[in-house]
C-alpha cells in the first residue's frame, strides 16, 4: 500500500499536492492553485521533511498498525458508498460553467469586501498558531 520509507511517502504526497494544484488550475482558480503550490508543495512538505530529519523515526517493521487490514476493508466500503452517493445526487449544475473574466480581481474583491472580517480572524488564528508552535518547541529550563 505505502512505501516502506517515510521520506518516500512524503515525496509521493508532494506529487499529489502538485497534482491537486493542477486540478485547481483546470477549475479556473488560479490563486488557489498558486496557494496550493506555495502552502502545500512548499511549506507543508518541507516542514514535514524537516521534522522527519529532526525526529529519528526508527519504527521497527511496518509503518501500519495491527488494525490496518480491517481499516482497509471498511474504508474501501466507505469510499465506494461515498462515491456512489455523490454520483447519484442531482446537483443543480449550470449549463456551460464559466467563471468569466478577471477571476483574480473578483476573487480579491470577494475576499476583501464581503469576507473581510473572517480574513482578519484568520490572521489572528495564524498568529496564535505561531505563538503556540514556538511555545511547544522551546527548550525546557
Amino acid at each position: 500500500m505505502t512505501s516502506k520509507k517515510i521520506v518516500h511517502c512524503i515525496f509521493y504526497c508532494f506529487i499529489m499536492f502538485v497534482a491537486i494544484g493542477g486540478l485547481f488550475l483546470l477549475l479556473d482558480a488560479p490563486f488557489i492553485a498558486a496557494a496550493q503550490l506555495f502552502i502545500y508543495g512548499g511549506a507543508v512538505t518541507v516542514l514535514i521533511l524537516f521534522i522527519v530529519m529532526l525526529t529519528v523515526t526508527d519504527l521497527h517493521g511496518s509503518l501500519r498498525n495491527a488494525q490496518s487490514g480491517m481499516a482497509l476493508l471498511v474504508l474501501a466500503f466507505f469510499g465506494s458508498v461515498l462515491a456512489f452517493a455523490v454520483s447519484h445526487t442531482k446537483w443543480p449544475v449550470v449549463k456551460n460553467p464559466s467563471v468569466g473574466t478577471n477571476v483574480m480581481g473578483r476573487f480579491a474583491e470577494q475576499l476583501f469586501k464581503n469576507y473581510y472580517f473572517p480574513f482578519e480572524i484568520a490572521g489572528v488564528l495564524l498568529l496564535a498558531a505561531l505563538v503556540g508552535a514556538i511555545y511547544l518547541g522551546r527548550e525546557d529550563e
Partner: protein
C-alpha cells in the same frame, strides 16, 4: 470533458485514503499528512462545486483559502506537538502515548 461528478468522486477517493491513513498508521507524522489529504479533498470539493453550481460568485474559492489558512495553522501546531512528544517519549509511535497527563 470533465464534469462535476469526476471531481467529486476523486475527492471522495482522496478522503477515504486520508481516513485510512489516520486509522491505520503507526507514525504520528504520517497521520498529520493524512489529515492534510482529507482537507485537500474538501478543498477540491469546494472549488469544484463553486465552479459548476454558481460560477460567478467564487464563494468556494474564498472558503478554500480559509481552509488552507486553518491547515497551515494545524500543521504548525501539530508539528510542534510532534517535536514535544518526541522529546518527552523518544518515540513518535502513536501506541506509546496512552496516558493523558504529561
Amino acid at each position: 470533458m470533465l464534469t462535476l461528478n469526476h471531481y467529486l468522486i476523486l475527492a471522495s477517493i482522496l478522503f477515504s485514503i486520508g481516513l485510512y491513513g489516520v486509522v491505520a498508521k503507526r507514525n504520528i507524522l504520517l497521520i498529520l499528512v493524512s489529515v492534510d489529504f482529507m482537507l485537500n479533498a474538501a478543498n477540491l470539493n469546494l472549488v469544484a462545486i463553486s465552479k459548476y453550481v454558481s460560477p460567478e460568485h467564487l464563494y468556494g474559492q474564498v472558503f478554500a483559502i480559509f481552509v488552507m489558512i486553518v491547515t497551515a495553522a494545524e500543521v504548525g501546531v501539530g508539528l510542534g506537538i510532534v517535536v514535544y512528544l518526541y522529546r518527552s517519549h523518544v518515540s513518535i509511535e502513536n501506541q506509546e502515548f496512552n496516558v493523558m497527563k504529561g
